[in-house]
């Protein structure tokens, strides 16, 4: 049986390792962050579309969500679910930032690319 003093030491060691990992993850994201140029909207694993952040507009995603793009940032304006977590999540504009509406399986992610509006016309 290990003494409680050693357990305490192991606890602190584990805590230090976990905190260090969290710090490294944070710093990594902080230093590599960049402003995004578009948002990609996914419904489950299907792409709903990509929209430029530089163009103000409102997008109806399926029947349960309205995404609003204004001043270079995107936010969920309306959702039909009871928890409203995605609406409360606020604005996103940096690459990788994500708003998720889990009940409707909708994710909105900021990307560095341009909108697919032109792509779909070109394709």
């Amino acid at each position: 049986m290990i003494k409680s003093k050693d357990k305490k030491k192991n606890d602190l060691l584990l805590g230090a390792v976990l905190l260090l990992t969290a710090t490294v993850l944070f710093l990594g994201r902080y230093f590599f962050r960049e402003e995004g140029r578009a948002v990609q909207i996914m419904v489950a694993d299907q792409e709903f579309g990509s929209f430029s952040l530089s163009e103000d507009r409102e997008i109806l995603v399926g029947e349960g969500n309205i995404l609003c793009i204004s001043d270079g940032a995107a936010f969920m304006k309306w959702a039909d679910c009871p928890d409203q977590l995605c609406v409360h999540q606020g604005k996103i504009s940096r690459k990788g930032e994500t708003i998720a509406c889990l009940p409707n399986r909708v994710t909105v992610r900021v990307t560095g690319g341009t909108s697919s509006g032109t792509d779909s016309i070109a394709g």
Partner: protein, 169 residues
């Protein structure tokens, strides 16, 4: 030294009720953070105490019953799945660490907090069928360590007081 005791349904009922009250209290005071899914995990204090005092079977039952009841009372069906993902992964991790005998409440609870958030993130990613949610991994990881530390310290105090009295392990 430990022998499997037969425990009455009332015993499990009391434990589950305790955890359920913890969930309820917590649902009244949401943490003011912009990232969804971050909670103190007060109910985990009961689960961890059950694990330390009684064993894995007891902790498992408390956790599952608590999640299903709390899900239907204060949440919805999808909330049950996220909670189960987090709850079961964290219980598995906590049970392993506890069984190793090398860690106290604090360490077990911190690892439990992190794995709980990881479990929820995994279920969430399954639901939306992509990995974009992992953007929030650093926040959830850090939050797991901190909330785990709070709950672990709380449990250390609880066990210090009731651990040797009547419930000796």
């Amino acid at each position: 030294m430990k022998e499997k005791k037969k425990r009455s349904p009332a015993f499990y009922g009391s434990l589950a009720a305790l955890a359920l009250i913890a969930s309820y209290v917590e649902s009244l005071v949401p943490l003011p953070v912009p990232v969804p899914g971050i909670r103190l995990g007060l109910a985990n204090a009961v689960v961890l105490a059950a694990l330390e005092l009684f064993g894995l079977r007891e902790a498992f039952l408390v956790s599952v019953v608590r999640i299903v009841l709390a899900g239907f009372l204060f949440g919805n069906l999808s909330a049950v799945f996220y909670s189960l993902g987090g709850g079961l992964l964290s219980l598995a991790v906590m049970a392993l660490l506890q069984k190793s005998g090398k860690f106290g409440c604090l360490g077990i609870s911190m690892a439990g907090g992190v794995s709980h958030n990881l479990g929820q993130l995994l279920i969430g990613s399954l639901a939306v069928e992509n990995f974009s949610l992992f953007y929030y991994f650093p926040v959830l990881f850090g939050a797991g360590v901190l909330t785990g530390a709070v709950i672990g310290s709380l449990d250390a105090e609880i066990l210090k007081r009731i651990g040797k009295r009547g419930y000796s392990t």
